[in-house]
Amino acid sequence: MQVIQSDVVIIGGGGAGLRAAIAVAQEAPGLSVALVSKVVPMRSHTVAAEGGSAGVIHPDDSLDKHFDDTVSGGDWLCEQDVVEYFVGQCTREMIQLEQWGCPWSRRDDGSINVRFFGGMKSPRTWFAADKTGFHILHTLFQTSLQFPAIQRYDEFFCTDLLVEDGRLQGVLALCIATGEPVLFQCKAAVLATGGASRVFGQNTNAGIVTGEGMGMAYAQGVPLRDMEFVQWHPTALPGSGILMTEGCRGEGGILLNKDGHRYLQDYGLGPLDPWPRPRAMELGPRDRLSQAFWHEDQAGRTLQTPHGTAVHLDLRHLGEKKIMERLPMICELARTFAAVDPVTAPIPVRPAVHYTMGGVLCDVHGATPLPGLYAAGECSSVGIHGANRLGSNSLAELLVFGRAAGLSAARHARETPAASAALQAQAESRAAVHLDMLRREGGTRVARLRQRLHEIMEAGVGIVREGPRMAQACEQLAELREQFRAGVALDDRGRAFNTEWLTAIELGHTLQVAEAMAHAALLRQESRGAHMRIDGFEARDDERFLCHSLIHSQGDAPPRVTHSPVTITRSQPRARVYGGAAQNQS
């Protein structure tokens, strides 16, 4: 087996991974970095982020406001010390990106322009039209090319983290083009593999967002935290799930039910006027908007489309000029994928899974409980999102914690001796397990298993949740994992660029992550943020559940869930209100 020595291995070439790699190369010279990604970095899902990234720069804004919006947006399940650090670093990172060339949208005088996003007291979202993630990712990727210390391994699929003497010492990967296993021996690794939204069917995410990074850490005994909190974005195209950015509403777009009524006023987000205004109506947080859709749908006030029910996102009143300047990609996407021109017609939208708030447990430095393993970005649970992520905090998270995790990993690598010799044997045995899949006969097709997973998750762990259905989902997931272990039927038996085989390995991880979500959800007997129950637990219960869920892998058996306290520094939990009620409160 080929062995590659590297001080720091970064798994994932999206925003967080690239930012971590640059941090090591720039701020810890002398260390070697291997950037290992299953796709060429600019294909990573960061590219699809549209609306923008948070950073306090507007004269009306303050770090305190960003802190408050984030903590209340997360329904007080945030680690407040981490949020404090986060809001203090965001603007620095946005400026850093500017200096690397990111084409942030500007005011006429050339200064940075910011827009409103949901749940914000002041405009705080830096944006590059409606292609913010695209520009951030390409800026980071191109900037990374000037550092010779960063050695890229594009299209290398990581399968396992290798632990020896109680610390992470290696990463096993498959070179996709040849199918050959490669062992990366390292002193530290940064997990930056993105979320797990593809656990669900209706989805705004790219096909690669399958959660295997979480699965790899989980399999090595690192707990996943707060996995029950899954964000439904309220405005995605029915069927394809393609995202219509929150920036649409930030610019003044409105949501209408089938009667042309702005229904959000009926869900504690009104009154209607004035519009637009912060933290109200269409600029409420995502969990509330998606839940309001569900209620409208139950009441039969949604529109029928060929791909399920929908409401209307209406931008027409913004006028063609503003739409084309601020939301050009939205226009193109709506025209191509929904055959609707937003300038002349409202866009049908419905909620779709968008983001996993939970992830691999780590601290403010990105350190996980496993020595040598760091995590950043959507795959991690550093603690800033709580029970519901605020729009535009995730791009900022990639940068702030990508850098932090990179620097921590570099520090760890400097203090750590070379990897142990026993690692190679472990790598060989893990590789043999994967290669064996190519030889096994019988079993179930990948597409069948994946389809079944989607059905189970949508029925059991959807926007609204009930105990018996979640319990059933847990059972069904155990059966599905059993079926997976019994064998996956592969048409492709070769090693070279065998995407069917890789998808099967990936699915093994995805199933575990799904199981973690379902079990954590079942045990949280309250409603908080994105976790909404309608079976007698409709209210938030701070007495019993102002705590994180920690999900521990038990191998082939169902996981064990424990709870851990939330760090509260200066914001005591209070009623989470938006719209007119919020103004009365403050």
Partner: protein, 250 residues
């Protein structure tokens, strides 16, 4: 649900472990009006033949993974729709002018090397730190390069460029457009470094203005314009070197 029809999709197949040369295989795919070519390929992989291999990811025309040739035209398979080809059969092949790794997957390493060669990052006039605050840049100044910054590296332009096919030493459309993007940025001072790439025979002079690159670009980057404007710059640079008695940059 819209009506289901059936279309024949003919795919180029090449397995490096089995085949000496590519061959074609035809699949019968049921489709509805909103199904893209990519979804047609996914249908084949999920239900008919799991060994058909292609790249894809975002399915919304921004990641640049899913470029391929459909009926000899380079396209993004996620934003081309089967209804537009029906009732004719369609032929799907990997992007032209690149080596085939397997089926519809091409080897993009040559392009990535070219991308790296154009100094594709800001070279500031003097070093800045975040503490210095953001640069000023007016919307007018952004307009000068924003078009070139829309490139998603999907490689359709390389598949459209016969000059690249005939001689792949040519730096090519997307990489040269990216070069123009940084040169046109008011915050950049790296033009001199990039001039070497521009002037080289495999730089802008490798282009004979076939022009198809700009036509097929899904993001309207217009690489042909970027390259041909740089031909003027390259010519100026050449003559200025004669005019300046002590030579520029010598």
């Amino acid at each position: 649900m819209s009506q289901t029809r059936t279309i024949m999709i003919e795919c180029l197949r090449y397995d490096p472990e089995q085949d000496q040369a590519p061959h074609y295989r035809t699949y019968e795919v049921p489709f509805t009006d909103e199904m893209s070519v990519l979804e047609g390929l996914q249908y084949i992989k999920d239900h008919l033949d799991g060994s058909l291999t292609f790249r894809w990811s975002c399915r919304m025309a921004i990641c640049g993974s899913c470029g391929c040739m459909v009926n000899h035209q380079p396209i993004l398979s996620c934003q081309s729709f089967l209804r537009d080809y029906y009732p004719a059969r369609i032929r799907v092949e990997p992007l032209e002018h690149f080596p085939i790794v397997k089926d519809l997957v091409i080897d993009q390493s040559d392009f990535l090397g070219k991308l790296e060669s154009v100094t594709p990052y800001l070279v500031p006039a003097q070093p800045l730190t975040p503490e210095d605050g953001p640069n000023l840049q007016t919307p007018r100044q952004i307009e000068d390069y924003l078009g070139y910054a829309q490139c998603i590296n999907c490689l359709l332009c390389y598949a459209a460029c016969p000059q690249y096919g005939l001689n792949n030493a040519f730096t090519g459309p997307a990489a040269l457009a990216l070069l123009a993007r940084y040169n046109a940025d008011s915050r950049d001072a790296g033009q001199k470094t990039r001039m070497e790439v521009v002037n080289a025979e495999e730089g802008v002079w490798g282009c004979t203005l076939v022009g198809l690159c700009s036509e097929v670009c899904p993001k309207h980057v217009d690489p042909a314009r970027a390259i041909n404007r740089n031909k003027i710059n390259s010519t100026q640079d050449y003559f200025l070197r004669f005019l300046a008695p002590f030579g520029r940059g010598s």
